[in-house]
Amino acid sequence: MNTNIETFKYDNRIVRAFAIATVVWGIVGMLVGLLAAVQLFFPDANLNLQFITFGRIRPLHTNAVIFAFVGNGMFMGIYYSLQRLCKARMFSDWLSWFNFWGWQTIIVAAAVTLPLGLTTSKEYAELEWPIKIAITIVWVAFAVNLFGTIVKRREKHMYVAIWFYIATVVTVAVLHITNSMTMPAGWFKSYSMYAGVQDALVQWWYGHNAVAFFLTTPYLGLMYYFLPKAANRPIFSYRLSIIHFWALVFLYIWAGPHHLLYSALPDWAQSLGMVFSLMLIAPSWGGMLNGLLTLRGAWDKVRSDPVLKFMVAAITAYGMATLEGPLLSIKTVNSLSHYTDWTIAHVHVGAMGWNGFLTFSMLYYLFPRLYNTKLWSTKLANYHFWIGMLGIVFYVVPIYIAGVTEGLMWKQFNKDGFLQYPNFLETILQVVPMFRLRAIGGTLYLAGAFMMAYNLYRTAKAGQFEPDTEAQAAALEKPPVVAGKSSWHRMVEGKPLFFTVLATVSILVGGLVEIVPMFLVQANVPTIGSVHPYTPLEVLGRDIYIREGCLGCHSQMIRPFRSETERYGEYSKAGESVYDHPFLWGSERKGPDLAREGGKYPAAWHYNHMDDPRSTSPGSIMPRYSWLLTQKMETDTLPSHLAALRRIGVPYPAGYENGPAQKDLQAQADKIVADLKLGSVKADSDKEIIALIAYLQRLGTDIKTTPVTTAAK
């Protein structure tokens, strides 16, 4: 037995810093979400300011809650638990603080650039390339600090929570780098290297696994640490936690294509996504049951301890969300739910219930300990719990109702075989009351967060901060290898590098099997002869479409259902998006699909619609985009934009951007101005609205004018 006892100190300062950031950014992210929610029934809540209009603040809200609120919460929990599980101070205090300030700088950069409309448009990966590079650097610093701490640990075994942290670090790095492959076209403008269906697959491989490996695996690690700690009893089954971990990290990475069911993605990829999503129920529920059963014999504590109360609700929400997710991946269910608010309700069960409540429980656990005191008011924390629960119920129930209503109304035919609700607006106006109720739910949840902030502030005031906690443990004398017939896993767990390689291989298999054929097998992306690159004016219009976040409400993917082809026209083909860097298929419909918008309305209709949507569509919930009528389009950047697109495969002739492109742009703009005159609208050809109209009038027209090559088949 080792008698060489060492005394050392845990760093609490870094934990406190991340804890405060979690509270602050959590409130900011929820406030932005509330503002976005209000605009869905009161569009003028944007005060006619482009910077706080729905399309721009929706990504701000999602980024704030995912990366600022949950991200800081994740770092807070990891920095606290990792030191204690390794019985070692963090590897480098400098790296800890670099991680902290680097992450906060990235959040501030996001909070500035997204309202300015500087976005890649790829969901949860909207930040432009300089910020993406900064994320990579900060993440590497975090990884070095984490692995350095693991290497210098005084505990032989790596507890299951650490496995989840390792999987998070590795997978987020792989996902972030793969999905961030962009061609810069300026300091804050880039185009995805991938196009169309390939871009869609990479994006949703990333998007789904951002949920899996940023919102789930680190939080499962935190659950495996903080739940036993708060309940003062070991985890129910460590064996089950091993199965939970390996099955989850192997399966999760395959499930991304379930975001693209019935889209132009090849059928084999959709089927893989569906099957693996269904299999995910098993490990997810294994983990949930492992958590809940840890409390066996301690349920009396749940009644009085707000920390446990929040944890139980969080784990239950995890179970609900991870049952619902696979069910939504079944193609028939997805055909009803996709593009509706059902998906929004589903993600908010996970975000508000699982991530939010687990974060609150950790904060209530940590503050009294960091400040060497008791929680200022247990009663107020209990009130927070109930107001938070009410908030979740008032948020998700109306939105579930809204989602199912939308899905059914979109598909409803009358007895004569025509669409029952041919005007899309009818279906949205039907659910506006649900949007109002949802905002009330969000307000309640936010009120709870304010109550928590006050409670934690009073706790901090009442106690005295303990910057370092002194600890003792025996030094590790030998490499952490345990011999024995049945200890292979123990041996693997004792070798962080080998363990990391195994975990990396597990997550890479699924990604490679799905993504590589998509890039190598030509048959997966059939081309269509009549599809040609966007004109220079259309490229500028597309950039504006991306800047304004139009895809937050409008999809560009008509699924092969009669209810969709009747409403929108011919279903979308993979070959139509081959020049779409990035793809703009979208994931949500608060307005109609725009894949065949071109030529549907005259130019003047679009002009008036952008100026005031309610003038052309009474009752519309779309915000006004009147600034597009007055702002000049930025033609100075056109050469760099076209050159960047050519570099990634769009066949613009060499030198096209230096002269010919400008001439083509002016000719097309003049034609649109002439079209507008026919509708009694007088406009200058250099305004942004002209470019946007050019883009909208182009959408879907490539195969409208020429017979589709696949039709012969």
Binding site: R84, P234, L240, V275, F276, A471, Q472
Partner: protein, 67 residues
């Protein structure tokens, strides 16, 4: 034989091709391996590992006190 039965079942159920089946069996093999791995572990070791969060090594600190 078993392969053929599962193959035809899956084909009919979700229209999976051989590529999908390869993926399915890849996971199945992996999962089976993990199961064998987990059940081969000794209970004594598992109990020790499962209780790790409860000992943070802190001296006279309220980090071990219940709220």
């Amino acid at each position: 034989m078993i392969y053929n039965i599962i193959h035809s079942l899956l084909r009919e159920a979700v229209n999976l091709n051989a590529y999908g089946l390869f993926s399915f069996f890849l996971f199945f093999g992996f999962f089976l391996g993990v199961l064998i791995w987990a059940f081969a572990l000794k209970k004594k070791d598992l109990d020790k590992m499962g209780a790790m969060p409860l000992d943070g090594g802190e001296k006279n600190s309220n980090h071990e006190i219940k709220s």
